[in-house]
């Protein structure tokens, strides 16, 4: 069945990622490994939006709100608890709880796509301006100073149960990669379950799903909350990767980037946005070192070009090409067979898609 095949694809990609994880520390420079952790955090963020927008059809322009909340919650919790394991859990829960409350209002109010997009973006912008104003010593949660626009320090990961056993950067890289791969498998699995397929069906036609007795609000809330939890986890690794959290995690630039990853990688694929995250991170990093072209300028051009010319994104466009070519080849093969007057029963190979 189709389902089994889709999930097998996920596992194959995951296996390749495991391979990458094992060779990366051997072949890459130490510094690259350190920055990679933070990019992995971003990739988890991209994956979360790929899930809720690409599969759930929920146009969330402010996915960074959950990412940033996860990052701040981790930093604050880890500083207070003195260990990272519980703090990660808290970060994920904070992001999910915030999304559940926000989601209740927008989905049960049945606001339109445009409103949803703008409201979520606004939420992250408000968080941005809110957290920027917390620079005084009075803004303090437990032992953690919020630090205004300077942000607050994020402690590194430690071995569960032993707060003094800090992990080395390459070990943190392994943990982050493991998280990314596991979340990727989880998402790949979720979209093949009943729940995931109903979410896709709702994306395709909400009215129809309603008329088939599905409470679409609940499903949307569910996948939205799951996506936020994942984004929160991404925030944790981002914070750990740069050992700091600043208000920029909520910023307009970060929100735009997240959308661009999904647009470029393609909606309806999980791996596309992940790859796009890595690619664009290194592109903008390379651009940042030269003065000629402004990063915003390039990102703006990329976004406009993709919307106009490659609206489906890279991965679906490529697989679409491959599928049509396969189909054409199969068709030609069949014609050839027919011409040879050896008609053989059976359908044209290759499914639409």
């Amino acid at each position: 069945m189709r389902l089994a095949r889709d999930f097998r694809g996920t596992l194959i990609v995951a296996a390749l990622a495991v391979l990458f994880t094992l060779i990366a520390p051997v072949t890459l420079e130490f510094f690259t490994i350190i920055t990679l952790t933070q990019v992995i955090g971003l990739a988890i963020l991209g994956l979360s939006l790929a899930l809720i927008w690409g599969f759930g059809g929920i146009l969330c322009f402010g996915q960074t709100a959950f990412f940033g909340l996860g990052a701040y919650a981790y930093a604050i919790a880890a500083t207070n608890i003195g260990g990272s394991t519980g703090a990660i859990l808290i970060a994920v829960l904070v992001a999910a709880a915030f999304a559940a409350i926000l989601g209740y209002f927008v989905f049960y109010g049945r606001v339109s796509d445009v409103y949803l997009a703008v409201i979520t973006l606004t939420v992250s912008l408000i968080l941005y301006s809110l957290i920027r104003r917390t620079s005084g010593p009075e803004y303090k949660i437990g032992d953690a100073l919020l630090g205004g626009f300077n942000g607050t320090g994020a402690p590194p990961l430690n071995i569960p149960g032993d707060a003094s056993a800090m992990l080395f950067p390459e070990h943190i890289f392994y943990v982050a990669m493991a998280a990314l791969i596991l979340v990727y498998i989880l998402c790949g699995r979720v979209v093949t379950t009943h729940f995931g397929r109903v979410c896709v069906a709702i994306r395709e036609n909400e009215t129809r799903a309603e008329l088939l007795a599905y409470d679409t609000r609940l499903y949307k809330l569910g996948i939205f909350t799951l996506g936020a939890a994942i984004a929160g986890l991404g925030g944790v690794f981002f914070a750990v990767g740069i050992s700091r959290v600043t208000p920029d995690v909520f910023g307009l630039g970060q929100s735009a980037l997240t959308i661009i990853w999904v647009i470029v990688g393609g909606r309806g694929t999980l791996i596309g946005p992940i790859l796009a995250t890595f690619a664009l991170y290194y592109l903008t990093a390379a651009l940042g070192t030269q003065q000629l072209l402004n990063t915003n300028l390039i990102l703006g051009i990329i976004l406009v070009i993709f919307v106009l010319a490659v609206p489906r994104g890279v991965i679906p466009t490529l697989t679409g090409w491959a599928a049509t070519r396969r189909q054409r080849r199969a068709l030609r093969a069949r014609e050839r067979r027919l011409r040879l007057r050896r008609p053989r029963g059976g359908e044209v190979a290759g499914e639409a898609e």
Partner: protein, 240 residues
């Protein structure tokens, strides 16, 4: 399921859009096992009435009772969850999914994975959708999309079925098959079918309700309605 029971009833049902009453104080009763056709000229208010039954519109006044449950103003999914199968006038299918997946989604709502798969296979056979099983529904012809939608209704095995213009845009042959299917569904479910096609209605109906300007004008057999001069004037006259 005992015959002769009321399965759906509206009392004083009204739906106003601004100043226009598209449905105007309608009292309507559907009995168990019945197959009722709704007819009426364009804009008579049939679809609006229909949407009040399915929860897509919240009636401005009056009540809808389905099997003792007051459903006016409820959400569509709550009404569908009572076991009501619904097909809308504008085809509503999952365009980006295959025909099979469309029907599976419907079946899986009520059954476990195993049973849903069997039901999906059976429904596809029953509606002769085998050829397009794996095709993306958005790429199918209009008639076939309608059939996929009917398949979704059937797969859920409802006891009350509401269809708004199920044969619209179908070829002559497809229309005949649809009529057959509707008679078959009717064996296990009470039905309301909105239609324009006279021939089609003759194929399936016993009692016909004639809508005009938001009200029920008559309720009788098709033959009696086509013989009635007033009905001919407002409805059949339009068509001639």
């Amino acid at each position: 399921m005992r015959r002769g029971e009321v399965v759906l009833e509206t009392r004083n049902l009204s739906m106003a859009f601004g100043g226009v009453r598209a449905v105007d104080r309608v009292d309507f009763t559907l009995w168990d096992g019945e197959l009722r056709c709704l007819i009426g000229p364009n804009g008579a208010g049939k679809s609006t009435f229909f949407k009040c039954l399915t929860g897509q519109l919240r009636p401005t006044e009056g009540d809808v009772v389905i099997r003792d449950v007051h459903v006016a103003g409820r959400e569509p999914h709550e009404i569908a969850a009572l076991g009501v199968g619904i097909k809308t006038q504008v085809p509503n299918v999952f365009d980006g999914l295959s025909a099979e997946e469309n029907i599976w989604i419907a079946a899986r709502r009520w059954h476990g994975a195993e049973r849903a798969r069997t039901l999906t296979r059976e429904t596809i056979e029953r509606l002769q959708l085998g050829e397009v099983r794996t095709r993306i529904v958005g790429t199918l012809a209009h008639g076939q999309r309608q059939w996929v939608e009917l398949g979704m209704v059937v797969a859920a095995d409802p006891w009350l079925v509401l269809l708004d213009e199920p044969a619209a845009g179908m070829t002559h042959e497809e229309t005949g098959r649809t009529a057959e299917l509707i008679r078959e569904i009717n064996r296990s479910a009470a039905m309301i079918v909105v239609e324009h096609d006279m021939q089609f209605i003759r194929m399936i109906s016993r009692t016909v309700t004639l809508f005009h300007e938001g009200r029920i004008l008559m309720e009788d057999s098709m033959d009696a309605i086509s013989a009635d001069p007033v009905a001919r004037e407002i409805y059949l006259g339009h068509r001639a």
